[in-house]
């Protein structure tokens, strides 16, 4: 039944361009989709390992910059008279490199920052994102600084028998984002239900106990961080090649907060949570725009985050699933992964 719901959802999303012609709404859907991919990757860390990474946008931004620079080419001077000259590569290579580079950064950040937990982990991740933002702002020779990287080429995919297809239109980009989102969803779903996924959740629920049964904490958390960062990098690459202009503001803390709000509202630790939360918060601005000033909208988002945490601390999906499961007790639970309070280790 569950896979039936999933297939219906995919079909519904795939049919959207057939009846939706409004370019503004299509644009909102594409950027929402990209942010949902980012939110899914954040959920892998926040919802399944319990680590609140507030520097997640760094991986998204690194992916965006790596992908853009790969496809634009660059010529920078290094200390001691060295120069690196890179000639433009096809954007699809940028996409792959974005995942690799972001994953590598995730490995480094994970290796270093998983030495601390809780509040300190959060602060290290925020600091990392801000340092990356300042580098993007100040290394003008490479990144153009505040002038932004412009004219980023659209992604070209080689289709068998059809030759190369450059994805320029909103319709093509919509399906590209949809495909990547579905792949991400399946990947995370498989991961969470694997042996590795059980190790992650074991760590989240009781780290001491998990260690005692032989789970390698640092290895598990670092691997989760690498995968999560790689997916965020992929989302960043899609963003760069769709918007076709990026500046250091992509690293703004508010973008991480947007993803966090999506995950928390939808339900952390639920596979569908980021999708539901992402659709709500991605499309809300579209409907609020005529009636509310942007500042007023952000006041409302802050308020919604607080209210959700007070009223539905498990998010929309898990709360609904629980209610649903209560009514049809014994048949099947929709909640893919059990939620657990992780207060056990938060005594410090």
């Amino acid at each position: 039944m569950k896979s039936g719901v999933a297939i219906l959802t995919i079909v519904a999303f795939a049919s959207v361009p057939l009846w939706l012609r409004d370019p503004y709404l299509m644009n909102a859907l594409i950027t929402t989709g990209i942010f949902i991919i980012g939110a899914m990757s954040l959920n892998l860390l926040l919802g399944f390992t319990g680590q609140l990474s507030l520097g997640h946008i760094a991986f998204f931004g690194i992916g965006a910059y790596v992908s853009a620079l790969t496809s634009l080419g660059f010529d920078v001077g290094l200390p001691f008279g060295f120069r690196i000259v890179h000639h433009p590569w096809p954007p699809i290579a940028g996409f792959v490199l974005a995942i690799v580079a972001a994953g590598l950064c995730g490995y480094l950040v994970g290796l270093l920052s998983f030495r601390v937990r809780g509040a300190y982990f959060v602060i290290v991740t925020i600091s990392f994102a801000e340092v990356v933002r300042l580098v993007a702002l100040n290394w003008v020779e490479l990144t153009q600084g505040p002038l932004a990287l412009t004219n980023i080429p659209s992604i070209t995919v080689g289709l068998p028998g059809l030759g190369d297809l450059t994805l320029r239109t909103k319709l093509q980009n919509y399906y590209l984002v949809l495909v990547v989102a579905v792949v991400t969803y399946v990947l995370i779903s498989r991961l969470v239900h694997s042996h590795f996924g059980r190790a992650m959740r074991g760590l989240m629920e009781n780290e001491t106990l998990a260690v005692s049964v032989g789970i390698d904490v640092t290895k598990t958390l670092t691997l989760a961080a690498v995968i999560s960062a790689g997916i965020a990098g992929a989302a960043g690459s899609l963003y760069a090649h769709y918007i076709r202009i990026i500046d250091p503001e992509v690293f703004a803390f508010i973008n991480t907060v947007t993803m966090v709000i999506m995950v928390i509202t939808g339900g952390k630790g639920s596979l569908a949570g980021p999708v539901v939360g992402g659709m709500i918060f991605g499309l809300l601005p579209v409907f609020l725009r005529p009636i509310m000033a942007p500042e007023a909208q952000w006041i409302a988002y802050g308020g919604v985050l607080i209210v959700i945490l007070f009223v539905l601390p498990r998010g929309i999906v898990l709360s609904l699933a629980q209610r649903f499961a209560k009514r049809r007790k014994g048949i099947e639970t929709l909640a893919p992964v059990a939620f657990s309070e992780r207060d056990a280790k938060e005594h410090a």
């Binding site: 319990g50 609140l52 270093l112 920052s113 030495r115 601390v116 937990r117 809780g118 509040a119 300190y120 959060v122 602060i123 290290v124 925020i126 600091s127 990392f128 801000e130 340092v131 300042l134 580098v135 702002l137 100040n138 780290e207 904490v217 803390f253 508010i254 907060v257 966090v260 928390i264 000033a293 500042e295 007023a296 909208q297 952000w298 006041i299 988002y301 802050g302 308020g303 919604v304 985050l305 607080i306 945490l309 007070f310 601390p313 309070e341 992780r342 207060d343 280790k345 938060e346 410090a348």
Partner: protein, 290 residues
């Protein structure tokens, strides 16, 4: 050499206000175990109180500082009572996320009310700086240093010499035991958050006139406060003062000798370096690790 002396003077002025920010956050973080994302908003709030009092109400510049302290105290108490008290006992991530929500809502509120255009405050001090041999320092900055030093001393006395301060220290050491000894922990929490918030507002009111005032000014201030707390140790007031001056020195030297673009990166680099190379902190406490 004179350039270095000038950096040292600037460090003293900047360090004083950073210490205020750090003391406020270290009290809240240390006693309540709350990662206070609204600390920067309180800093912004203090700066705008300064602007409103001086320019819209036309009241004296020197009166604006105590008014900012009082306003910060009230706003801090309100945040604690409405958001944090109902969440007592929930895990640190939940309170952190609630504070992020409050931070967004309040910062956007500031942007809505006061607009995004930076404002500056005119001060009663003479334009010509005080010249001391090879270095010069403006009268405004001297006042900022003096006021910050005074507030630091007042806070130190409050924590170490009064009954309230004694109860706060007791709550920091062991909340349950303090409660058994008759300490009203609820009251201590509200007081702690209010005092910390008023110090942040004071720092904003002092630094606002030195630079310019805009709604996002508190974001960097908040991260700097976290850097200071991590440097100085949790709940450690002396540590926060030292941490404030270390951060100010790092920023001054970084801006002077590396690149002014990376001035604000110093705080982040300090956080990362301390937590990576000495995760227990400069003043060893074990709770940071696993």
């Amino acid at each position: 050499m004179s350039e270095f002396l000038q950096h040292l003077i600037n460090m003293l002025v900047l360090g004083g206000t950073y210490a205020l920010l750090g003391i406020g956050l270290t009290l809240i973080f240390g006693i309540m175990n709350v990662v206070n994302f609204t600390h920067g908003v309180l800093y912004t709030f203090g700066a705008y109180i300064m602007f409103i009092v001086v320019h819209q109400l036309g009241i004296n510049f020197f009166l604006a500082l105590p008014l900012a302290v009082v306003a910060g105290w009230l706003l801090g108490a309100a945040i604690e009572l409405t958001l944090l008290r109902p969440l007592r006992g929930s895990d640190i991530d939940t309170t952190m996320l609630v504070m992020i929500g409050a931070w967004i809502a309040m910062q956007s509120g500031a942007l809505w009310i006061w607009g995004g255009v930076a404002k500056s405050v005119t001060t009663p001090f003479p334009e010509a700086p005080l010249v001391l041999g090879p270095v010069s320092v403006s009268w405004l900055r001297l006042f900022v240093l003096a006021a910050a030093a005074m507030l630091i001393v007042v806070t130190y006395l409050l924590i170490n010499k009064t009954k309230l301060g004694c109860a706060m220290r007791a709550t920091f050491q062991d909340q349950d035991t303090a409660s058994l000894m008759g300490v009203n922990v609820d009251l201590i929490y509200t007081s702690t958050f209010a005092i910390g918030s008023s110090l942040a507002a004071a720092a904003g009111a002092l630094l606002g006139p030195v630079y310019v005032i805009f709604p996002q000014m508190g974001d960097l201030a908040a991260v700097k406060a976290f850097a200071i707390v991590i440097l100085g140790g949790l709940g450690n007031i002396t540590g926060a003062v030292i941490g404030g001056f270390i951060l100010a020195l790092a920023e001054e030297l970084g801006a002077g000798y590396v690149s002014s673009g990376y001035r604000d990166a110093m705080g982040f680099l300090i956080i990362i370096a301390v937590l990576i190379f000495k995760p227990t902190g400069l003043f060893a406490r074990s709770e940071r690790v696993g």
